[in-house]
């Protein structure tokens, strides 16, 4: 097995290991309404952003990282940001460390098809 295939296989431990790694339960629903329960890497942190008013303000950034082969096995495509308001977006739900569920839509996605991982930047979504 070449190094690239090895890297893709390593994603199982890097992203999807809930026991010894940072794997976390994530539910993702595609625009057609098909859900899938996956394990991946999730992030939801505060940060400082600059809205160009001369004063930095506090913001919040959330993201997930998923294995593309797991999405494919679940019957889903690669998530992406949906700007068309006539379409439903990709919806992502996961708990924070205290067990509170948060719902987001995919704002933009960065698939790395070389090693088989997709990173999605999220924004808040009211269902």
């Amino acid at each position: 097995m070449g190094l690239r295939a090895t890297a893709e296989a390593d994603l199982a431990g890097i992203l999807e290991d809930k026991t010894a790694g940072f794997g976390w339960d994530i539910t993702i629903t595609d625009p057609a309404g098909s859900p899938a329960s996956l394990v991946g890497y999730s992030n939801d942190i505060g940060l400082s952003i600059d809205p160009d008013t001369g004063q930095a303000v506090s913001g919040r950034r959330a993201s997930i990282a998923l294995r593309i082969s797991s999405l494919t096995a679940a019957g889903l495509g690669i998530p992406m940001g949906i700007v068309d308001s006539t379409s439903k977006p990709w919806v992502v739900t996961f708990d924070d460390i205290n067990g509170t569920a948060h719902t987001f839509k995919v704002q933009e996605s960065h698939p790395d098809r070389a090693i088989g991982m997709v990173t999605c930047l999220l924004e808040l979504y009211d269902v």
């Binding site: 809205p51 160009d52 008013t53 303000v57 913001g59 919040r60 308001s85 439903k88 933009e108 924004e123």
Partner: protein
């Protein structure tokens, strides 16, 4: 010889900043009452007004139930041309105030189909606040910002929108816009006591009512249903 009196007054630039905030808060409440009387949603005329806040946007996160635009009035600078005023008692200045309007949008599911994009909503909210603020401050009623004699005029110099930084995408869609308002005003300084050549001046002040979190509230009571 030292100044014999305690400098215990606000400068006109401070008074003017507070006056701008009071005008916006009062007129926003009045507009909400008018909207209620016209059977329209008064929340579309609601502004939350603050002064000199460094992070007013934090309020969107503190109380997600209230997504009405936030307006922050802050003083940027004053220019004192030497040709205006005199070296003894009065100097005319042009003070610039930045009135930042923050709009907040969250993407939401649309039960009728599709979804409501948060970035568009945030921009529209900010521009609605800019619309209300500009119309209020440039109304004929406020040519001198209710401080005629102290203020000789005001002019809205620019209106600009700020696009969110792509590298700093946050989960919340917050869009800001700025109105830069120039105000021509007179500033005064302590005078030598009992100098008959100097006119006695009455100090002006603005009574600002604030909520516990510092939000400027309207001067009068208006009836409206939120």
């Amino acid at each position: 010889m030292t100044i014999g009196t305690l400098i215990d007054k606000q400068d006109v630039f401070e008074i003017t900043r507070d006056k701008i905030a009071v005008i916006l808060a009062t007129e926003s409440a009045s507009q909400q009452a008018l909207a209620t009387a016209a059977a329209k949603d008064p929340n579309l005329w609601k502004l939350r007004v603050y002064t000199e806040r460094s992070n007013p946007w934090e309020l969107f996160r503190d109380d997600p139930a209230d997504v009405s635009p936030i307006v922050n009035v802050w003083f940027e600078n004053s220019n004192f041309p030497k040709s205006k005023g005199n070296v003894v008692s009065r100097q005319e200045a042009t003070a610039t105030y930045n009135i930042d309007c923050y709009g907040y949008g969250v993407s939401a599911d649309n039960p009728a189909g599709g979804h409501v994009p948060g970035d568009e909503q945030g921009a529209f909210e900010a521009q609605r606040a800019i619309r209300l603020t500009r119309n209020i401050l440039m109304a004929a009623h406020y040519t001198y910002l209710d401080l005629r004699g102290t203020i000789s005029g005001r002019w809205l110099r620019t209106v600009s929108m700020f696009q969110p930084q792509i590298d700093s995408r946050a989960v919340e869609q917050c869009v800001a816009g700025r109105l830069a308002l120039d105000v021509a005003l007179n500033e005064y300084a302590p005078q030598i006591d009992n100098d008959p050549t100097i006119d006695t001046l009455d100090y002006v002040s603005v009574d600002v009512k604030r909520a516990e979190d510092g939000q400027v509230v309207a001067e009068a009571d208006f009836d409206y249903s939120p």
